[in-house]
C-alpha cells in the first residue's frame, strides 16, 4: 500500500535526503528531490550525475543519502544506473536477490540536455527499468552559471553574458521533454515542486512502469537566476502560470496537459522576477521580450494542439484536467 499523497501522512515518512547537506539555502533542487524520494514506497538505488546536487550532498566523510547512491561522472548517470539495473536483473535471475528494487538517476540540465544526452538516449532505448529525473535549473550552476541548452532565451549567464552587442543567450531552449517523448518510452512528464501533488503522482506513475521513464522538474537556483532565497516555489508557480514551464505527461505516448492556467499570464511575469533577465527590460530590448513571448506561445500552442489531437482520437475531452 502506498502512502496517501497527503501532507500529514507524508510528513511521517523518513527523509531519504537528509538535512545538513550543503546546497545553497533556498535552492529548488533538494526540494524537488526530497519530493521524489517521498513519493517512492519501494526501495530505491540512485545514480547521480556530477553537478550541484552531487557535490553538495556527499562531501566526504559525510553523505546526505539514506539510499544506496552512486556518482561516477558527469555525462553518464543513465549509463551507470543501467549497469546497476542490469546487475539486479542478473542476480534476480540467479535467485541471489528477491527484493523489489527500483532504479533512479538524477542529473542537472547540463548532465541531461547536453553532455549526458547520448547516454540517456541509449539507456531509454535499451528499455532499462529506471526513472531518470532531470532537475532543470537552466544552466551549469556548479561550475558558475554557464549556459546550457536548457538556458532560456535571453538569460544572462557567464558564457552568454548580456553585453552591448549580444543580449544574453541568443538561442531558445531545447525541448528535452519532447525529445524524451520521441523515444516512445512508457512514461515521460514535466512538473515543478510547487505542484507537489502533481510531481509525486508523476513519480509514482514513473516508478510503476516496467521500463524507462523520464521526468523533467523545474528547480530554481537563486544564485544563477539572481533571485531571493525565499521564493523558489513561487517562481515555479509563475513558470507554470505563464506557460513557460507547462505541466504535462505522456503515458504510453498519449499526451495530457495537466495544468492549464485559467488566465495565461505574460511571460514577462516570469522574467521580471529574475536578475538574469534584467537587461531584457531596458527600453531598447522590446524586441527581445517579444521574442521571448513568441517562443513561449509557440511551445504552448504546439503542446495544446497535440493534446487536442489525442483527446479527439481517444474520444475524451481534455477539459478540466
Amino acid at each position: 500500500m502506498s502512502t496517501p499523497l497527503r501532507l500529514k501522512e507524508l510528513s511521517k515518512k523518513e527523509d531519504l535526503l537528509t538535512g545538513g547537506h550543503r546546497m545553497c539555502a533556498g535552492c529548488g533542487a533538494p526540494i524537488a528531490i526530497r519530493q521524489v524520494l517521498l513519493a517512492a514506497d519501494v526501495p530505491l538505488v540512485a545514480a547521480n550525475a556530477t553537478g550541484c546536487l552531487e557535490v553538495s550532498t556527499t562531501i566526504y566523510p559525510y553523505t546526505a543519502w539514506k539510499i544506496p547512491w552512486i556518482h561516477s561522472a558527469f555525462e553518464n548517470a543513465a549509463a551507470t544506473i543501467s549497469g546497476v539495473e542490469a546487475m539486479y536483473k542478473a542476480l534476480k535471475k540467479k535467485g541471489k536477490i528477491d527484493r523489489k528494487i527500483k532504479f533512479i538517476a538524477f542529473g542537472g540540465d547540463g548532465g541531461t540536455y547536453d553532455i549526458g544526452l547520448q547516454s540517456l538516449s541509449g539507456a531509454m532505448e535499451r528499455g532499462h527499468d529506471m526513472v531518470y529525473i532531470c532537475y532543470d535549473n537552466g544552466a551549469y550552476m556548479n561550475t558558475g552559471i554557464q549556459r546550457s541548452s536548457a538556458t532560456p532565451f535571453g538569460a544572462n549567464t557567464t558564457t552568454c553574458p548580456a553585453g552591448r552587442v549580444i543580449h544574453g543567450k541568443p538561442q531558445k531552449r531545447k525541448n528535452l521533454t519532447r525529445i524524451m517523448a520521441a523515444h516512445d518510452i512508457p512514461y515521460v512528464a514535466q512538473t515543478t515542486p510547487a505542484h507537489w501533488r502533481d510531481l509525486m503522482t508523476k513519480v509514482r506513475k514513473a516508478l510503476e512502469v516496467d521500463g524507462p521513464a523520464f521526468i523533467n522538474i523545474l528547480a530554481p537556483c537563486n544564485r544563477g537566476w539572481r533571485t531571493p532565497t525565499n521564493n523558489a516555489i513561487e517562481l515555479c508557480r509563475i513558470a507554470a502560470d505563464t506557460c513557460f514551464w507547462p505541466l504535462y505527461e505522456y503515458e504510453n505516448g498519449k499526451l495530457t496537459v495537466n495544468y492549464k492556467p485559467k488566465e495565461k499570464k505574460p511571460v514577462t511575469d516570469f522574467l521580471k522576477t529574475q536578475g538574469r533577465f534584467k537587461h531584457l527590460f531596458s527600453p531598447d530590448s522590446k524586441d527581445l521580450l517579444k521574442q521571448a513571448q513568441e517562443n513561449t506561445d509557440h511551445e504552448w500552442d504546439k503542446l495544446l494542439r497535440e493534446a487536442a489531437c489525442w483527446a479527439e482520437e481517444t474520444g475524451t475531452t481534455e477539459e478540466g484536467k
Binding site: P68, A86, M87, S119, G122
Partner: protein, 392 residues
C-alpha cells in the same frame, strides 16, 4: 586435461568469457575486438550463459555501466580496443578509484590519427596510469589463461581493482593457433563465486559510492590504491601457482628466455616476443650470449624482479610498440627505472617498432641484436631512441 583446438585469439577469449559466465557484460563493437562480444552475444542469445548483456551506445557508457554493475555487486566483464579504450579513459580511472574488480579484454590496436585498425600497444600504454592491473599476452593461449587469472587477481580480497588482459590485434586476435582449453568445471572452481563488497543492491545497508573528496582526504584514497595495486605482484604469483596446478602451464611476473648469463638482453612484449625467441636461439647457437625478457604484468610493474633478471646484461635493447612522443617509449622508461633503482647501469637503447600493425619479422630482431653486439664491443650506444622497420 583440457582439449586442444585450433582457434583464433578472439574466439579463445569469447570461449573464456563463456566459461567465466559473468553476471553483467556491457560492451560496444570495435575492430579488432568486436568478435569477442559478437560471439559472446550468441552465447547469451542461446542461453549458454546467463549474463545480462548491456548493448550500450558507446564505450564511455560501456565502462559506466560496468561501474554501476560492479558496484551493484557482481562479476562484470567487457572488451574493447584502441579508440574504444580511449573513449573510456575517464571511466577507467573511476573504476579503479572506486576499487571495482572489473575484468576487460583489450585487443591492442593503434590509436588514431591516422586511423588504423591494426595491432600496436598505444591503447594499453595510454591507459598505463589509469590504475588498472595490466597483463600482456604473447598468444591466444596466454590470453585465455590470463583472463581467468585476471579475474582472480582483480577480485582478491587485498586488491579489489579492475584488470585488463592485453593481446595483439589481428596478429593474435585473428590468427588461428592450436591451444588447449580447460574444462568448464575446472574454470568454475578456479574462479569461484564472486564475493560482493558493499554492494549497492543491499538496500538495507545503503552506501554512497563516488562522493566528493577534498584535499583533506583525497590523497589517502590514492595512497590506499597505490598499496592495493602493489600487492597484485604477490597475488599474481599465488594465482599463477594455482593456475599451474589446473593447467600445467606456469606463469610469472614476466618470462625470461635464455637470460641466464646473457650479456645482451632484449625486452619485448606480446606477439613480437614469440618471433624474437627463434632469433635469440640462432644467436645462441653462434655462441652469442643474448637473452630475452617478455614482461607479463605491466601494472603493477615488477621493478626489482625485472632488474634482477636483467642484472648481468651489459647491453639492453627495449622494444616499444607504442611511442610517448617526445620521450622514450613507455617500456623503455620502466626498464630504465628498474635498472637505475637497482644501481645497475647497462647500456640501454630503445627501438620503436611495429606501429599500426607493421610486421615485426625475424630479420628485424636479427638486425637489432647484431647492432647490440656492436654496442657490446665498442661500449658506445649511438642514437638512444630509434624507429625501426620504417620506409625511408
Amino acid at each position: 586435461m583440457g582439449k586442444k583446438l585450433a582457434i583464433t585469439g578472439n574466439q579463445a577469449l569469447a570461449e573464456a568469457m563463456r566459461q567465466i559466465n559473468p553476471d553483467v557484460c556491457a560492451a560496444y563493437p570495435i575492430t579488432p575486438s568486436t568478435e569477442i562480444m559478437q560471439r559472446f552475444a550468441s552465447f547469451v542469445s542461446d542461453g549458454v550463459v546467463d549474463t545480462e548483456l548491456v548493448t550500450v551506445e558507446s564505450e564511455h557508457s560501456a565502462m559506466s555501466a560496468c561501474i554501476g554493475a560492479s558496484a551493484a555487486g557482481g562479476r562484470v566483464m567487457t572488451a574493447t580496443s584502441s579508440q574504444g579504450l580511449a573513449l573510456m579513459w575517464e571511466m577507467l580511472h573511476i573504476a579503479s578509484g572506486m576499487r571495482l574488480p572489473i575484468a576487460m579484454t583489450l585487443v591492442n590496436r593503434a590509436l588514431s590519427a591516422p586511423i588504423n585498425i591494426h595491432g600496436d600497444h598505444s591503447d594499453g600504454m595510454g591507459s598505463r596510469d589509469c590504475g588498472w592491473i595490466q597483463l600482456y599476452s604473447e598468444n591466444a593461449q596466454e590470453a585465455y589463461d590470463n583472463i581467468f587469472q585476471a579475474v582472480r587477481i582483480a577480485e582478491h580480497e587485498d586488491i579489489r581493482l579492475p584488470a585488463m588482459v592485453c593481446m595483439d590485434g589481428f596478429i593474435i586476435s585473428h590468427s588461428i593457433e592450436s591451444m588447449e582449453f580447460l574444462p568448464d568445471e575446472v574454470i568454475r572452481d578456479f574462479i569461484g563465486e564472486f564475493k560482493p563488497k558493499y554492494p549497492l543492491l543491499d538496500v538495507d545497508k545503503p552506501v554512497t559510492y563516488g562522493p566528493l573528496v577534498l584535499p583533506d582526504f583525497y590523497i589517502e584514497f590514492k595512497r590506499a590504491q597505490h598499496e592495493a595495486i602493489n600487492k597484485a605482484k604477490k597475488v599474481t604469483l599465488e594465482v599463477a601457482r594455482e593456475f599451474e596446478k589446473i593447467s600445467g602451464r606456469s606463469y610469472g611476473l614476466f618470462e625470461p628466455y635464455r637470460l641466464d648469463d646473457a650479456e645482451i638482453a632484449i625486452v619485448l612484449l606480446n606477439s613480437a616476443a614469440g618471433t624474437a625467441k627463434d632469433v635469440v636461439d640462432d644467436f645462441r647457437n653462434k655462441g652469442i650470449r643474448v637473452g630475452l625478457l617478455k614482461p607479463r604484468l605491466f601494472r603493477p610493474f615488477p621493478y626489482e624482479e625485472i632488474a634482477e633478471a636483467l642484472g648481468d646484461a651489459k647491453v639492453i635493447c627495449v622494444f616499444d610498440r607504442a611511442d610517448s612522443f617526445g620521450g622514450f617509449g613507455p617500456m623503455y622508461m620502466e626498464i630504465a627505472s628498474a635498472m637505475m633503482a637497482a644501481g645497475s647501469s647497462p647500456l640501454m637503447v630503445n627501438k620503436i617498432y611495429g606501429l599500426g600493425g607493421r610486421d615485426f619479422m625475424p630479420e628485424d630482431a636479427e638486425a637489432v641484436i647484431k647492432e647490440m653486439t656492436g654496442i657490446l664491443d665498442t661500449g658506445k650506444t649511438g642514437t638512444l631512441k630509434e624507429y625501426i622497420g620504417v620506409r625511408e
